[in-house]
């Protein structure tokens, strides 16, 4: 990959982090489309969340009093988290494709950690 391409990709990631950290605390707090419709038509009574172990519920970083900082940190943490999952997922898949056997065995054990993890967790929860 050329240098200019690397710079462009790095700029993309920095833009995402900037948006999440600096801009998202100032985003509109009004209810979104579905929330608005559910409020207007009286079906916004939820059963309450089933999953209680979210690390950063509601995009507010826990333990930080400043709301702007809490939301910015939550956004940056989520952006990095999603980037790392997406990058390592495609990195691992690409390595496998090339048939680099030394790494394949290790990855086979790690693989549930990458992409299908979320889906499987969803499944477990549903069966509970």
């Amino acid at each position: 990959m050329k240098k200019s391409e690397r710079y462009f990709l790095a700029a993309g990631l920095l833009t995402a982090l900037f948006l999440a950290f600096m801009v998202s605390p100032f985003a509109s707090k009004a209810p979104d489309g579905l929330e608005r419709v559910s409020e207007n038509h009286g079906f916004n009574i939820q059963s309450g969340p089933v999953w209680h172990s979210s690390l950063i519920p509601g995009y507010v970083f826990p333990g930080i009093k400043n709301r702007i900082l809490a939301k910015g940190l939550a956004g940056a943490a989520g952006t990095l988290c999603v980037f790392i999952i997406g990058f390592s997922f495609s990195y691992i898949i690409n390595r496998r494709k090339k048939g680099k056997l030394s790494i394949v065995k290790r990855i086979k054990e790690e693989q549930p950690e990458t992409k299908p993890a979320g889906i499987q967790e969803g499944n477990d929860n549903r069966n509970r």
Binding site: M1, E5, F8, L9, G12, L13, A16, L17, L19, A20, V23, S24, A27, S28, K29, A30, D32, G33, L34, R36, V37, S38, N40, H41, F43, I45, Q46, P49, V50, W51, S54, L55, I56, G58, Y59, G75, G78, T79, L80, C81, V82, F83, I84, I85, G86, F87, F89, S90, I93, N94, K97, K115, P116, A117, G118, I119, E121, G122, N125, R126
Partner: protein, 259 residues
């Protein structure tokens, strides 16, 4: 449009979960075979951008806000199946880490905002890209020599950089990329909201006659924001580093019926 727990019935959640798991499995299998090296960082960065941009709620009419979805953007940058994987990662993290969208509705949310929003938009995108040059250029669609190319530079870039084998045979098509993206991204949000409304109605949460027009109405406004952001990002990538998007070599060359 993140559906919380308790809005959609168990059967629909289970069915949507089964569909998304199956599509996810196909996407992973396909990626194992054909994911290009250039797409490795791009996949992570697209996911990061979609996540960050989804946090930026913008106000629309009547004390309501909307936010970017990004499914079509991901599919345009990475191809439909990889784009679907990006959306699955984003929505799963939102659900598990940020409690945004119910865990029981995770499959349904990935179905609506990943599969339907992405595919609904992508079908429109490919259709427009195939039809618009034909309508406006009086049938130069079959002109595989690319004689009448204003977008000659674009052709140069794509043919030299994407890969040795790709030749931009149909340069007029590149000129229609952004209009197609704009219209298709509007459709992507509206289609997703229509499916969301349908699921709510089938679950008995709200009558179809009420929830369908309400959802589609609000999201046809939100779709304008989607169109602005998606078109903006695509135009930046297309102007600056189109060779980072291997998919475009194929998309922009393809003739009608080659899909």
């Amino acid at each position: 449009m993140h559906i919380p727990d308790g809005f959609v019935s168990g059967q629909i959640n289970a069915a949507a979960f089964a569909v998304t798991a199956a599509v996810g499995a196909v996407a992973v299998a396909k990626a194992k075979k054909s994911l290009k090296e250039k797409q490795v960082p791009l996949l992570g960065i697209t996911a990061a951008f979609v996540f960050a941009a989804q946090m930026l709620n913008f106000p629309i009419a009547g004390g309501t806000s909307g936010h970017f979805l990004g499914a079509l953007l991901a599919m345009i940058l990475l191809g439909p199946l990889n784009g679907f994987l990006v959306m699955s990662i984003v929505i799963t993290v939102q659900c598990l880490v940020f409690a945004d969208g119910g865990i029981t509705a995770l499959g349904t949310n990935i179905f609506n905002m990943g599969l339907i929003a992405g595919l609904g938009g992508y079908v429109v995108f490919r259709f427009l890209l195939a039809v618009l040059p034909f309508i406006f250029k009086g049938g130069t669609l079959g002109d595989r020599d690319g004689k009448s190319n204003k977008a000659g530079e674009v052709r140069e870039v794509i043919s030299s950089d994407v890969s040795g084998s790709i030749n931009m045979k149909n340069p007029e098509r590149a000129g229609w990329l952004l209009p197609s993206v704009a219209v298709a991204s509007w459709f992507s949000v509206v289609t997703a909201s229509a499916f969301c409304a349908l699921e709510l109605a089938l679950s008995g949460t709200s009558p179809f006659g009420i929830v369908f027009p309400a959802m589609v109405g609000v999201h046809s406004l939100i779709g304008i924001g989607e169109a602005v952001i998606t078109t903006g990002v695509v135009s930046i990538v297309f102007a600056a580093r189109p060779e980072l998007v291997p998919v475009w070599g194929k998309v922009l060359r393809t003739r009608m019926g080659d899909n």
